[in-house]
């Protein structure tokens, strides 16, 4: 695994918005990470942490006036940030596909779901109309929907079925990377479980890499290999899911996990993170989490902690030499905190 180049390598990615006085306010403030081929990576954090924005930036889906202000997104031999729009459009939807939280607003209500999947196929492949109909039926079958349902309209399907259709549409062109942005947040717990299981199965069957964006660490931990925790437009901790789940070091990760009660917990008050994430434009000078952090020390407010690899015995010297970017795919554990647990 260590010899293989990652499928996706992101270096110093930044997204900014113009402020009223003409400056650029950064909402994503320089993030580095990599996704190994076939790996599943979870991206967690509260609303406003920059998690969706950074992942949308990977395929340059940033709505103006927001724009990518810097960074490299290496996908195979190409830098998606520098790529011309025409070539990017070919990669987007074919090699890299997305699934969003609300399938209702992503589906065309006046076309059958089979037709919509076939349209995507025709846009990205050389298949004929008849062939794409067939491939659409196949894609539906792969996500557990009977091919007869290809004539159904979105409103005739339940929320969970609609999300399956979105996933069928996303995988129809056999992408290498699927970016799923809160794909289960609007769904019931049972349907949620089915969708998570479906993503795990597709990853196995198709050798798909997955970026799973969610505010729920428990949920993503069920199917990912690595977790990236974001706060204030930065990565505050990342590493193998086992490490982050069992031995989180950043206080934010610890609290994010503790917020979600377990069924076996005794009844009583929940652990809450008081306050709210900082607004862009009002970022603290130091660690963005410092104002809410129970472990904050004087240095936290004054100075931004860098994201540094932890010295746990898990990583070998070779990984150290490979540099932060490659190490991101190899199983190291990084934390940005002056006073980690």
């Amino acid at each position: 695994m260590s010899a293989r180049a990652p499928l996706l390598a992101v270096r110093d990615l930044r997204v900014g918005f113009p402020s009223a006085d003409g400056r650029v306010i950064e909402a994503v403030r320089g993030i580095d990470f990599a996704v190994a081929d076939g790996a599943a990576v979870g991206v967690v954090g509260e609303s406003g942490s920059g998690k969706s924005l950074s992942m949308l930036a990977l395929i340059r889906l940033i709505a103006p006036p927001g724009r990518i202000t810097g960074g490299v997104v290496a996908f195979g031999a190409e830098d998606l940030i520098a790529l011309d729009e025409k070539r990017l459009r070919r990669i987007r939807g074919r090699d890299i596909a997305m699934v969003f939280q609300d399938p209702q607003s992503s589906l065309n209500p006046s076309l059958s779901v089979g037709r919509q999947i076939a349209d995507v196929l025709r846009a990205h492949t050389n298949l004929s109309a008849a062939q794409s109909q067939l491939a659409a039926a196949e894609a539906l079958e792969r996500v557990g929907i009977s091919p007869d349902k290809r004539h159904a309209y979105p409103h005739e399907l339940s929320g969970g079925m609609r999300q399956r259709v979105m996933i069928a549409m996303a995988i129809a062109c056999r992408p290498r990377l699927l970016i799923a942005d809160e794909p289960t947040t609007a769904l019931d717990v049972t349907v949620q479980a089915q969708i998570v299981a479906l993503l795990a199965r597709l990853r196995r069957e198709l050798g798909l890499s997955i970026i799973f964006i969610s505010h729920n660490l428990q949920l993503v931990s069920e199917i990912v290999d690595r977790v990236i925790v974001m706060y204030g437009g930065r990565i505050v901790e990342d590493g193998p899911v086992e490490t982050l789940f069992r031995h989180p070091r950043h206080p934010y990760t610890t609290l994010l996990k503790a917020c979600v009660p377990n069924l076996d917990d005794p009844p009583g008050p929940l652990t809450a993170i008081e306050g709210a994430p900082p607004h862009i434009g009002h970022m603290p000078a130091g660690c963005p989490f410092a104002p809410r952090c129970p472990r904050a020390i004087a240095r936290c407010a004054a100075e931004m902690p860098p994201l540094v690899a932890q010295d746990a015995g898990a990583q070998d010297a070779g990984a150290q030499d490979a540099g932060a970017l490659d190490a991101g795919a190899l199983g190291d554990h990084r934390v940005a905190c002056w006073n980690p647990a």
């Binding site: 929320g159 199965r201 086992e242 994010l256 917020c259 009660p261 009844p267």
Partner: protein
């Protein structure tokens, strides 16, 4: 539910049927609720769980009087809602209030928070002179500062809006609060804040709380009793401690099995069947 106190809210053989559009109207109507009987004691904290389509939101809307039942009776504090509805508003204050999943849809987008609370207080008969002070006190109660009085709903965060929705419900001085998926559209961190707030208010204001959610772990942490609904019926009810430890119904067991547990990967996700056929076309 059982208890020594008096009954704050009762549903007696409540059903709700919706006609289904069919050629010549021959399709049988859809039974959203099917003969529900439920009594909730003053001061109790009761969770109602079930999937979309199980009827839990319909139950809430009927209990608060937003929609009429097709059959059966709803009683607030022992008096039938049908009787209360004919009582002049001056002589009757609604004892049951509701908080919705999406407060942005429940708050008028063109009215400031202060105006919204003021109108609710006026409805309760609070004199104009006292409304501002009381609105501020309500906001403080839900953890908001007086500065949000002049804000419009869209200027608030999701968590703040949910707190305003709660303040407005409390402005009517209810005895029973029905919270319908109040945290489902919020982040995990905000979820915990709002759940803790609900628990504190219930205690401090002596409220009866009905908490509707599909999140069983939240119900377990907040509620004393739980009612499990499926297909418009109550399939199981009892103390949380009992139902969660020893579910009697297969459906309850399957709901419990679907709760995310992080790494353990013990969810039976791979084999989980589609549980509800009514909603899947």
């Amino acid at each position: 539910m059982t208890g020594a106190g008096t009954t704050a809210l009762e549903l007696r053989h409540v059903s709700k049927a919706y006609p289904r559009p069919g050629v010549l109207g021959r399709k049988p109507s859809f039974r959203a609720l099917d003969d529900i009987s439920l009594a909730i004691t003053h001061g109790d904290v009761v969770g109602i769980v079930g999937e979309s389509g199980s009827g839990k939101s319909t139950l809430a809307q009927i209990a608060v009087g937003l929609i009429p039942p097709s059959a059966g009776e709803v009683l607030h504090d022992g008096t039938s809602l049908a009787v209360l509805a004919r009582t002049p508003p001056q002589q009757w204050r609604p004892r049951v209030q509701m908080v919705f999943q999406d407060s942005s849809g429940a708050l008028n987008p063109r009215k400031t928070v202060g105006r919204c609370l003021g109108e609710t207080l006026a409805l309760r008969g609070v004199a104009a002179a006292g409304r501002i002070a009381e609105a501020r006190a309500l906001l403080a109660l839900v953890g908001l500062g007086a500065e949000v009085m002049t804000r419009l709903p869209h200027e608030l965060s999701g968590g703040q809006r949910q707190r305003v929705g709660l303040a407005r419900a409390l402005a009517m001085k209810p005895e029973v609060l029905i919270a319908d998926e109040p945290v489902s559209s919020l982040d995990v961190s905000l979820q915990a804040q709002i759940i803790n707030l609900l628990a504190r208010l219930t205690r401090e204001l002596n409220l009866t709380l009905i908490f509707i959610s599909h999140d069983l772990a939240l119900v377990r942490s907040l509620c004393r009793c739980v009612v499990v609904m499926y297909g418009g019926r109550i399939v199981e009810e009892g103390l949380c401690a009992d139902v969660f430890a020893h579910p009697a119904q297969d459906y309850t067991r399957r709901l419990l099995a679907a709760v995310p547990r992080g790494l353990s990967q013990q969810r039976q996700t791979a084999t989980m069947p589609v549980l509800i056929s009514t909603s899947a076309s």
